[in-house]
């Protein structure tokens, strides 16, 4: 990946945000100031740069409702058929000059160009990941400090380039805190049923130790079931083997309960062995309708003809053998045989032999078919029985002779459950009747086949009827089973209520609970394991919170706090009350663990720790703190840029602090080598900034007005000609002035020369020339055209002699106070001539 170290040179904006008509802004390599009253388009400049680099503005990125910002990037007065354009020219120390251009059409489509070539992303886009944005913005500061600690964490994570850690932490924590959202419905139901079972166990003092064992998770299961056995043996008053435990308890329970009511209203669930058996029976039944079976059956009739052929072949074989000795007489009837008849006998024998050949060696399949039909009937009976028994309890409970008993057991409070039972019966009855009818149809077809088999009158139609009846039976059975599955869960509640009512009346509640424990042992063991997994996620969340706390504390701890403190110290004044920011930390519990993603901003008042800087510091100090944080993080996690944009940093500060902040700007430019772009609505303060940064000699733009066209931007002088000449003279007259100061004095002279020349061009030629774009040739041409005396022109242009157009001094350059004094005199002369 190429290394990028971009400085901003030039920006063109048209049709974007507050900019309708095309506007351009040049940027100084060190410090550019843009001043304007509020709402004159300053922030549109910042947003244009955000949009170029990131594809969206931070205001939109952090907006609660993106809908409100839809279509807000384009200027409302800009023609819809033209794309809004932002063009930024960057100077890169390695890559040289390059142009990034973004076009935004009225439909919101964005096209990016680099040096005129369409690109899908910027070549430095990978470097944006993890980099702190180069924008210090008021709303970003508010988002960072004046928000709840958890949101502050996210702001810090973004600012420190830890967004990916924050994102994965969120994903994992969501999983750990709401795992139920990700588990199958069957498991959810099983967990709920188990909780309900635990509640019921807890109602029996003697069974409470079992609940305690379950609370231990899968390791407690053995202990729990030993206690179940012990309790059952005590209740039944005898020692029991584990294998006979369940049946013994069921017998005891049913014996007592049968005095009240012996049945249930549940659809009988299929146990795993029953499911295996049902599946095996289904295969056997379907074999009765399979093509090979039916084909074999259909061929039984044809089989009889084969048998007759075999007998004929045997007869012909004997006759042919006997004819060898008496070829002229029939060995069976004594008739005289002529040649023609002998040939006919020989020919018939060959034909019959060849027809019989393929069938020779095969036994009679009738016995096998009879056996298969018998298996089919038995399978059908078993299959039917298994299916019918599922709904047997429900139908029995709703029979006239039981109806009153069952209904009264439900009681008036559970009338709804009784209605569910009745509806279930009404639903299943037609399906059961259809099943029984289909079974009768299959039986009839089966009997027809058996009768035909006995009388050797099998034919295809019987086989077809059998196949169809079995297919019909199976499809009816599937519908019936499916309906039962639907009703099974629906009737669980009523069945449980009925069981409770019976147990309550019969005094068998505890026995039933033990039975449930034993019947559901496998599922309980699985539920405990699943519960252990889900419980374990809480522990995982704790580890994640601790780790993210460590990562964040490492990021915000000593280094960032120290860095923010050092910037904050530059803004502090001697008269400030000693109530200040004291550092960042992750909030911790009393036990010393990190609180989940909570960043604490500390503060101290005369050495005493305050609860939080956010609640304790004044708005101006919080604003200062936010600025320092943004600056510190921008320096800590740099992106592929050297510039830093400060958008209206001064808010609710007094004059003393405003002046202090100028030191921050100088440090950024001179010590951190940042290209600073400062936007402010405070013109008076901007004057102080340009004065305080006199020697930086940056560029100063002033937005002088705003119309439908957009802002009117004018480039203004960093310092007046008088200021520059005074500066140059004071340096030249200072005997202790170092070479670097003398070199700076020459630079002041050259800038003053350009400014004076631009004034002369305006006054004498009526031409607007920007002093910032003039070089020695331009100066000479303007002065000659303005009819300046040639000797003065030569001396003025000589002020450029010790530097080239790029302001680079030659290798043998030696600064000289005398030369500065001479240049100073020349410029005074030029001004005098210009004023004449």
């Amino acid at each position: 990946m190429k290394k990028f170290c971009m400085k901003l040179k030039h920006l063109k904006i048209v049709g974007f945000r507050g900019f309708n008509a095309e506007r351009t802004i040049d940027f100084h390599e060190k410090l550019t100031i843009i001043s304007a009253p509020n709402s004159y388009g300053k922030t549109s400049i910042t947003e244009a740069l955000e949009f170029v680099i990131f594809g969206e503005t931070s205001k939109v990125a952090h907006a609660q409702s993106k809908e409100e910002y839809r279509g807000s990037y384009r200027n409302r007065h800009y023609p819809a058929d033209r794309p809004a354009v932002i063009e930024a020219i960057f100077e890169d120390t390695v890559e040289g000059t390059f142009v990034l251009q973004v076009e935004l059409d009225a439909s919101g489509n964005v096209r990016r160009f680099m040096n005129g070539e369409l690109v899908t992303e910027w070549p430095f886009s990978q470097k944006l990941i993890g980099a702190a944005p180069p924008f210090v913005l008021q709303h970003a500061l508010k988002n960072l400090l004046l928000v709840p600690p958890s949101e502050r964490f996210q702001g810090f994570a973004r600012l420190l380039g830890l967004y990916d850690v924050d994102a994965i932490q969120q994903v994992l924590v969501n999983l750990c805190t709401k795992p139920e959202a990700n588990i199958p419905e069957k498991v959810r139901q099983a967990l709920s049923d188990f909780r309900s079972l635990e509640d019921r166990l807890s109602t029996f003092q003697e069974l409470q130790p079992i609940v305690k064992d379950f609370k231990r998770g899968p390791v407690g299961i053995d202990g729990a079931y030993k206690k179940v056995q012990a309790r059952a043996e005590k209740l039944l008053g005898k020692k029991l083997k584990a294998a006979e435990l369940l049946s013994a308890i069921v017998s005891a329970r049913d014996e007592s309960a049968s005095k009240i009511y012996a049945g249930t209203v549940a659809i009988k669930p299929m146990s795993p062995p029953e499911q295996v058996r049902l599946s095996s029976l289904r295969e056997k039944v379907l074999a009765g309708a399979s093509a090979p079976f039916l084909e074999t059956y259909s061929r039984l009739g044809a089989r009889d003809a084969t048998d007759r052929l075999k007998q004929e072949a045997q007869l012909l074989a004997i006759g042919t053998e006997l004819l060898i000795n008496q070829p002229d007489t029939c060995p069976f009837c004594g008739q005289v045989l002529d040649e023609e008849l002998r040939k006919h006998i020989a020919s018939r024998y060959e034909v019959v032999k060849s027809k019989v050949g393929t069938e020779v060696g095969k036994g009679d399949p009738r016995n096998q078919i009879a056996q298969d039909l018998s298996i089919l009937r038995s399978s059908l009976n078993d299959y039917q029985e298994l299916l019918e028994q599922r709904s047997g309890d429900l139908l029995t409970a709703t029979k006239t002779e039981n109806e009153n008993t069952v209904r009264s057991l439900f009681g008036r409070d559970n009338e709804v459950s009784w209605k569910i039972v009745q509806t279930a019966r009404t639903t299943i009855t037609p399906h059961l009747e259809a099943l029984q009818k289909a079974r009768a149809g299959a039986e009839e077809a089966l009997k027809n086949c058996e009768a035909a088999l006995q009388s050797n009158k099998e034919d295809v139609s019987q086989a077809e009827a059998l196949g169809s009846s079995i297919q019909l039976y199976m499809s009816t059975a599937d519908k019936y089973s499916s309906k039962l599955d639907d009703l099974e869960s629906l009737l669980l509640g009523p069945a449980r209520l009925l069981r409770q009512a019976i147990d309550s009346t019969a005094g068998t509640t505890e026995l039933s609970t033990l039975i449930e424990l034993l019947e559901k042992k496998v599922m309980i063991e699985r539920v405990l394991r699943i519960r252990e997994v889900l419980e374990g996620l809480k522990e995982l969340k704790k580890h994640i919170d601790q780790t993210v706390g460590e990562v964040m504390e490492a990021a915000i701890g000593t280094d960032l706090t120290g860095s923010v403190m050092s910037w904050y110290a530059k803004i502090r004044t001697k008269g400030d009350p000693d109530v200040h920011f004291s550092g960042f930390a992750m909030e911790r519990t009393k036990a010393g663990d990190f609180k989940s993603k909570k960043v604490k901003v500390g503060a101290k008042s005369y050495g005493v720790e305050l609860s939080s800087a956010v609640s304790s510091l004044s708005e101006s100090k919080l604003n200062a703190l936010g600025l320092c944080m943004s600056i510190a993080t921008a320096l800590r996690a740099p992106g592929p840029w050297e510039f830093l944009i400060l958008d209206d940093p001064i808010q609710s500060w007094d004059e003393e602090h405003e002046v202090q902040f100028i030191e921050v700007l100088r440090s950024l430019v001179e010590k951190e080598n940042k290209q600073v772009i400062l936007l402010s609505h405070r013109d008076q303060w901007i004057d102080q900034v340009s004065l305080g940064c006199r020697t930086i000699n940056g560029l100063r733009n002033r937005i002088t007005g705003y119309t439908q066209e957009g802002p009117h931007i004018a480039l203004v002088d960093w310092a007046t000609v008088d200021q520059r000449l005074r500066e140059a003279q004071s340096i030249a007259c200072d005997p202790k002035a170092l070479p670097v100061r003398l070199q700076q004095a020459e630079e002041e002279i050259r800038i003053a020369t350009c400014q004076l020349t631009a004034e002369i061009a305006k006054k004498k030629l009526g031409r607007d020339r920007s002093p910032h774009n003039l070089n020695s040739k331009d100066v000479r041409a303007i002065l000659i055209e303005a009819k300046c005396p040639p000797s003065l022109v030569d001396r003025v242009v000589a002020t450029f002699g010790t530097t080239d157009d790029a302001h680079h001094a030659p290798k043998d350059y030696q600064p000289s106070a005398e030369r500065v004094r001479q240049y100073h005199g020349t410029l005074l002369e030029l001004r005098k001539w210009g004023d004449s």
Binding site: G130, L162, I168, P184, L537, E539, L540, T547
Partner: protein, 66 residues
């Protein structure tokens, strides 16, 4: 997610070194095999979907264990 999509996801997603370090640090704090499975899944697949899938898989393995 189809098998093809999973493959694509696997090819496209790679945890950053910072995320890898984070997952390592969490992993060192626990001996729980399920935790390690979930953390491992985050390394090669998009975590927004894979952590849920991995948990479902763990649960279904228990539920349908023969």
């Amino acid at each position: 997610m189809s098998e093809d999509e999973k493959k694509l996801d696997h090819q496209n997603y790679g945890a950053s070194s910072r995320v890898e370090e984070f997952l390592d640090a969490v992993g060192k704090k626990t001996n729980n095999k399920v935790h390690h499975r979930i953390l491992r899944a985050c390394r090669h697949r998009d975590p927004t979907t894979c952590v849920e899938e991995e948990l479902k898989k763990v649960i279904e393995e228990i539920l349908y264990e023969t």
